[in-house]
Amino acid sequence: MVELNLGLIAIGAGIAIAGTAFAAAIAEKEIGSAAVGAMAEKEELFGKALILTVIPETLVIFGLVVAIMILGLAPAP
């Protein structure tokens, strides 16, 4: 049964990453297209546009932290 638990832990960690990655991707898609639109009007906005676009990336980082915490539940090999 140990293997099953380990597998569930791994799946949990995977879901944490995958879910947050999807969320970040959806958010960045919206922001990115708007940012490109704004930059077409005013090119100097690149710096600000970049920042706004990458803000949701933090979501994946949270996912990663959670994933590492979940992996910490696994028994030492």
């Binding site: 970049l50 920042i51 990458v54 990336e57 933090t58 994946v60 990663l64 932290v65 590492i68």
Partner: protein, 599 residues
């Protein structure tokens, strides 16, 4: 270095007789950042009368330059008097050549048109004399879209003569019918998409061909003349344009000044370190006939960086974001320290560092301006990558040290902790700078409310955490809780509800630094996979060694590309969002002294 250059606002007043001399001097000094006069007390000046002539010349010059597609670097010409004569000659030559060329081209095109209309008829092999000169016969000559068959014609008219041939996939026909049957044949012809070709009496294909050849010859000779002109005079033209542009700048400068009937006022900013020397020089030039007034003002002063050459490349990141205002901290130096460290921490591989270093050095050779700045800063970053590569003991993913200082592929928890700690320090630094910024702009009270509150909250939070999670202290909860409450109250007083809404942001900002190790982890894992994959093939020997080498090259190439984009963007983001968000306002005006080259 931490502040932008100190500026002085000066106002130069003097009689108009000295104006041009003064403008000339200011233009060559390249020091004063002019302020347009927008007041209502005086009028703004007019440009000098020569301005119109010069700009007319510039228009001519620019049209030649764009026609010749000159793409050269311009230089300053010393003796501008000689240029005028030379330019007039070049201009005349150019006009003569281009008008001849366009004349000949026009002639050539009309000949080609004639040729195209008669050439198909020549394919019929009939003497051109037979096409006309009949009383009772009508001739239809031309092309048809659908093949015209004799059978069909004979159904319409009894007597006819059809000669046809093929020319460029089209059927060419010459149809001779009696004048009286003309009406009957017309519908048939239009049904077949007949289009008439004209044949003027006396046109001769051979003659046209020889004429075309001679025109072509002349055209090539003129074109080579034009190319020669481009070769010999191109550089001169570009240089002259550059000089005339400077000239117009000077001639049109009075548009920015306030003037009265006999006097002028020039208003502008100059760096404090140059102020004295400039003042003396100008007074000497005008024999003390001008008055220079120093204003005690700092509002809206332009931003001029002053960095040693090592830090200078990092101005790129400020240009990309927004220039610092005159009265705030210029964070370029801090970016210079932390950007390469973050980048190196993420990429951290001796091999990758060396490859990217070589690539950047190679790319840098042909770069100018902003892209050169960027590459120079990336060179510093790849040096940091090599340094961290040694700390992590990694060379293209291979762990070449048994027990490196830090093993980032396995010591995940340590790496996470380091990342968060770095984030904490970075954010605290941001708040401290923010405190200072608000202090010099608005005073101590505001600084404590707006930025000090955050520092207190941070400290309180840390104390609580230290007891709750690490149980390092026994008093953390109480003291920390009090500090937290105090900080929140201060924040509420300083920034209102908006500040309270932003409270959780401090946690997410700190956690955001976890990307420092996350990006690196992805990069090192990818490298490990590539290496393992290649090792499989290596162990099989023989021809598979070639495959293994290919996998190594491709895999690491892709990983380096990813490794450049990821760490660059993430490091940049940590600065722009997490760090700058704590103190940076931006929106400064660039210091653009009168006379400086605009690129």
């Amino acid at each position: 270095m931490i502040r932008t250059q100190k500026m002085n606002r000066i106002r130069i007043t003097g009689p108009k007789t000295n104006l041009f001399k003064l403008i000339n001097e200011l233009h060559s000094m390249k020091l004063i950042h002019l302020i347009d006069y927008k007041g209502k007390e005086f009028e703004t000046g007019n440009s000098f009368s020569e301005a119109e002539i010069v700009s007319e010349k510039l228009i001519k010059l620019r049209s030649i330059i764009s026609q010749l597609e000159l793409n050269l670097n311009s230089r300053l010409i010393k003796d501008i008097k000689v240029c005028e004569k030379r330019f007039n000659e070049v201009y005349l030559d150019y006009i003569k050549l281009t008008s001849r060329i366009s004349e000949l081209t026009e002639k050539k095109n009309s000949l080609i048109y004639v040729k195209e209309s008669i050439e198909p008829l020549y394919s019929l092999n009939i003497d051109s004399g037979y096409f006309s000169g009949y009383d009772s016969i009508t001739v239809f000559k031309g092309t048809v879209k659908k093949p015209l068959l004799e059978k069909k014609i004979s159904a319409a008219v009894k007597e006819f003569e059809l000669i046809s041939s093929k020319y460029n996939n089209k059927q060419v026909i010459a149809l001779f019918v009696p004048e009286k049957s003309k009406e009957k044949i017309l519908p048939l012809l239009s049904e077949h998409g007949f289009s008439e070709l004209n044949f003027e009496q006396g046109t001769d294909l051979n003659q046209i061909n020889s004429e075309l050849a001679s025109i072509e010859k002349k055209l090539t000779s003129f074109n080579s003349d034009l190319n020669e002109l481009k070769e010999t005079e191109g550089q001169f033209l570009v240089d002259y344009e550059f000089n005339l542009e400077k000239e117009t700048e000077k001639l049109e400068a009075p548009l920015k000044f306030a003037v009265t009937e006999n006097a002028f006022i020039i208003d502008g900013w100059i760096p404090e370190k140059d102020a004295k020397a400039m003042e003396e020089k100008l007074k000497k030039l005008t024999q003390d006939k001008i008055f220079i007034e120093k204003l005690k003002e700092e509002k809206d002063a332009p931003t001029a960086f002053s960095h040693p050459s090592l830090v200078k490349p990092f101005e790129f990141f400020m240009n990309l974001y927004s220039l610092p205002k005159y009265n705030e901290i210029d964070p370029t130096f801090l970016v210079f320290i932390t950007f390469p460290l973050f980048f190196g921490f993420m990429l951290g591989d001796v091999g990758y560092g060396i490859v990217t270093l070589i690539a950047f050095l190679f790319l840098r050779r042909n770069m100018k301006g902003e892209s050169k700045l960027l590459l120079n800063s990336l060179i510093v970053a790849s040096l940091a990558t090599i340094l961290f590569g040694f700390i992590f003991g990694e060379f293209f993913g291979l762990e070449f040290v048994e027990h490196p200082l830090l093993n980032r592929a396995h010591d995940l928890n340590t790496m996470l902790l380091i990342s968060i700690l770095v984030g904490l320090i970075h954010i605290t630094l941001g708040f401290v700078i923010g405190f200072y910024n608000v202090l010099i702009q608005h005073g101590l009270k505001e600084a404590v409310f707006e930025k000090g509150s955050w520092l207190i909250i941070e400290l309180g939070g840390l104390l609580v955490l230290s007891q709750l999670v690490l149980s390092m202290t026994s008093f953390g909860n109480i003291v920390g809780g009090v500090l937290l409450l105090l900080g929140i109250i201060l924040l509420f007083k300083g920034e209102g509800v908006q500040g309270l809404i932003e409270l959780p942001a401090i946690l997410s900002n700190t956690l955001s630094y976890a990307r420092l190790f996350a990006v690196g982890l992805a990069s090192v894992q990818l490298a490990l996979i590539v290496n393992d994959f290649a090792a499989e093939f290596f162990s099989q020997g023989g021809i598979f060694i070639g495959v293994a080498i290919f996998i190594l090259l491709l895999g690491h190439f892709i990983n380096i590309l990813l490794g450049l984009i990821g760490p660059f963007l993430h490091s940049l983001r940590l600065h722009y969002v997490e760090f700058f968000g704590k103190f940076y306002k931006g929106g400064g005006k660039r210091y653009l002294p009168f006379g400086i080259e605009k690129n």
